[in-house]
């Protein structure tokens, strides 16, 4: 039987196993919306802005490991989605984004709501496709999912002209596709793995530095086996938190600009660095000239272009983290050589010494609420077992420092692009994936206002999020830099005319709370968490002068942190 392009679209997604799709309708996608209306296998979530739709799909993808799916209309629908696409691209998150397009015969005509979606998204997608014939539609959709989810994951855009969705053809959804131009690597080179192991076992001051790749590659278990087999210290990037249990003794905290003193000092002094699924970002390395001056470096990554991009490495291993880590564990278990016990013991003594500086300490006697105190309490009240999304700014760094993630896919934030506005819609995607879980969005009064309209979506779909707004009345991260590096000239970093967040939440039909005394923090959090069936917006009025410590200043090496 012949189906229309719109029906083929819906059937393809069903066959692909898609259960939820985030989007916003418009002229170019009306046939598709009509086909969605006439089925009940895929739930469509109507956000209030296309940026919200892409972030929600992104939150769904980060928390589940399955691709997030989005549909938006042509022109402004597609351009509104770009921020979300770029956010997913920078953090290698699998999304498939369908954009409506004007009918084929009008393309290039400056037609109503026409934009060059392929051209606009090209620099921020893993790949994109324009469907030019309805007979190619099903296979293109299959390819889009294949490319988005394999190798180094990333967003893929499929641009579908309106006439294609009305034309008819036979439907067949392929089980598999192969593309001669796209063949991601899986297993690492055996010889390279052997060389790496030799280095690792000879190390006297080893350091394991892991990133988002361990989470994307579902390798937290193998990472933990490897690290514990060797008793080596582990640090995670902002994107890698949860890949190794944060409450374990071997975990030395996050590294980088706002990482811990012990993690950065251990990086600086290590003699063998084992980098796994991490990309030597400038927020991590600090001044590249001063980075790990005495280390031999092993780097495992699925993307050859991540290797030796910023830092030249000694043993590159291209492959899927999980495979490579499992191979390493097996080889080490089979080897007669063991790490040098005395040297490793001495190394741990040194690390404990750095750790004893207690670099995350803060003032516990303040009259004002300290943001760190809110996050410590949040960790306690949720038993460390919540999904936590965040926006971008100081609150994000404090959440990363003070919420100890023991499991992967629990910490959901925009690291690469640093997109304010990400937190709330991402939390919606997480809650939809895990309806019974506690999902907390840690945000600031600046960031939350960038996608605040999504509070309406939360009402429509009864999403009981817990929003922790660390309201310092300023764009704190900007203010901090202005205090440190611009002699306190606070250009545009104060927010005037903030809304009454309690009333705002209430007007959307949610519960609002304002907390301004340190003594009330924990009880307010408990009260909010006890409300299982409603969204609670907690507006914590925090100390506006608080800064994120420790910090590697611009141009500094990892051993040059500013401590409080």
């Amino acid at each position: 039987m012949e189906l229309t392009g719109a029906e083929i679209f819906v059937r393809s997604l069903q066959d692909e196993g898609v259960d939820i799709i985030f989007g916003y309708p418009g002229g170019a996608v009306l046939h598709i919306y009509d086909a969605l209306y006439r089925q009940d296998k895929i739930q469509h979530i109507l956000t209030r802005h296309e940026q919200g739709a892409t972030h929600a799909a992104d939150g769904y993808a980060r928390s589940t490991g399955r691709p997030g799916v989005v549909i938006v209309t042509s022109g402004p629908g597609a351009t509104n989605a770009v921020t979300g696409i770029a956010t997913a691209y920078m953090d290698s998150i699998p999304l498939v984004v369908f954009t409506g397009q004007v009918p084929t015969h009008l393309i290039g005509n400056d037609a109503f709501q026409e934009a060059d979606n392929i051209g606009i998204t090209r620099p921020c997608v893993k790949h994109n496709f324009l469907v030019k014939d309805v007979r190619d539609l099903a296979e293109t959709i299959k390819k889009a999912f294949y490319v988005a989810t394999t190798g180094r994951p990333g967003p893929v855009v499929v641009d579908i002209p309106k006439d294609i969705t009305a034309e008819k053809t036979e439907f067949h959804y392929p089980d598999k596709v192969s593309m001669r131009s796209y063949n991601p690597v899986h297993v690492g080179h055996a010889g390279q793995i052997k060389r790496a192991i030799k280095l690792m076992l000879d190390a006297r001051r080893p350091m394991i530095y892991t990133g988002g790749g361990v989470i994307l590659g579902n390798a937290a278990g193998s990472l933990t086996s490897l690290a514990q087999l060797l008793d080596y210290p582990v640090t995670n990037t902002l994107m890698g938190l949860g890949a190794y249990p944060a409450t374990d003794r071997q975990f030395v905290g996050m590294l980088g600009m706002h990482g811990t003193y012990e993690a950065n000092m251990a990086m600086h002094h290590c003699d063998v660095l084992i980098a796994i699924g991490a990309r030597f970002d400038d927020r991590v390395t600090g001044n590249i000239e001063k980075f790990c001056p005495n280390a031999k470096i092993v780097h495992v990554d699925i993307d050859p272009s991540s290797i030796s991009k910023n830092v030249k490495v000694d043993v590159p291993i291209v492959g899927c983290v999980d495979n490579v880590l499992k191979a390493m564990v097996k080889l080490i278990k089979g080897s007669k050589q063991r790490p040098d016990e005395a040297a490793i013991k001495e190394w741990w003594r040194q690390i404990e010494d750095w750790r004893s500086k207690d670099c995350l300490k803060y003032d516990h006697d303040s009259e004002l609420i300290k943001p760190q105190h809110v996050l410590e309490s949040l960790y306690k009240v949720t038993n460390g077992d919540a999904f936590v999304t965040s926006d971008v700014g100081q609150h994000q760094m404090w959440a990363a420092q003070f919420y100890k993630f023991d499991k992967p896919r629990r910490w959901i934030n925009s690291g690469g692009l640093g997109t304010m506005g990400f937190g709330l819609p991402a939390a919606m995607g997480v809650q939809l994936a895990y309806p019974d879980a506690t999902v907390v969005c840690v945000t600031g009064e600046g960031s939350i206002q960038m996608c605040i309209q999504e509070l309406s979506t939360c009402k429509q779909y009864a999403l009981p999020l817990k929003i922790v707004n660390l309201n310092n009345g300023c764009l704190g991260m900007v203010r901090q830099w202005q205090e440190f590096f611009y002699q306190g000239r606070y250009a545009m970093s104060y927010m005037e005319s903030l809304p009454d967040f309690v009333k705002l939440a209430e007007s959307y039909g949610h519960v609002g709370m304002q907390i301004d005394k340190p003594g009330d923090v924990e009880s307010a959090l408990k009260e909010a968490m006890a409300i299982k069936d409603q969204l609670v917006f907690m507006d914590f009025i925090t100390d506006p002068a608080e800064n994120v410590y420790p910090m590697i200043p611009a141009g500094g090496g990892q051993n040059e942190m500013i401590l409080i």
């Binding site: 392929i118 090209r122 324009l130 490319v147 050859p304 272009s305 030796s308």
Partner: protein, 163 residues
């Protein structure tokens, strides 16, 4: 160092802009870029000439390989290879200059392919530096117009860029 990179890519609309976009987005320079379909019409072959340190060239080839439309590529400069570029030069050719221009053209193995009473159009093929040398050998005032095809390259011997 100067590198000649040859790329086989899917002959899809937009494939060229993916390569050009990659170079501008990442700040790599392109000296020349040529593209045409191959004997297999589903593939096109692109030749690009770029400059950079070894690290930059390594990143360029990795980033090119990462493009989903790129099937295969080869850095010609890594082995013995032949480089050719075609040039058409229109020059003012009057009076005794006509003889002189013919002689210079012959020395460079050029061919005069169009003649008027005031001009010659000379066709010349060779490596880029030979074409440069030819232009330098001419009196600059005589050059009316020059068009160059951009570089193509092929490896010597058995080495080949094919599927």
């Amino acid at each position: 160092m100067r590198h000649i990179i040859s790329i086989l890519m899917e002959n899809e609309a937009g494939a060229l802009s993916r390569v050009a976009g990659l170079f501008s987005a990442r700040g790599y320079n392109i000296e020349s870029l040529t593209v045409a379909p191959t004997e297999d019409p589903s593939l096109s072959r692109m030749t690009l000439v770029t400059r950079g340190t070894d690290e930059i060239i390594e990143q360029i080839t990795k980033q090119l390989n990462k493009l989903v439309d790129v099937v295969k590529l080869m850095d010609m400069t890594e082995g013995p290879h032949i480089e050719r570029e075609m040039m058409l030069a229109k020059v003012r050719a009057e009076g005794d200059m006509r003889e002189e221009l013919k002689r210079v053209s012959d020395i460079f193995r050029g061919r005069i392919i169009d003649v008027t009473d005031k001009t010659y159009t000379i066709e010349l093929t060779g490596a880029g530096d030979k074409l440069d040398a030819f232009l330098q050998a001419l009196d600059q005032g005589l050059i009316i117009e020059v068009v160059r095809s951009g570089v193509s390259g092929i490896a010597r011997g058995e080495r080949a860029l094919r599927l």
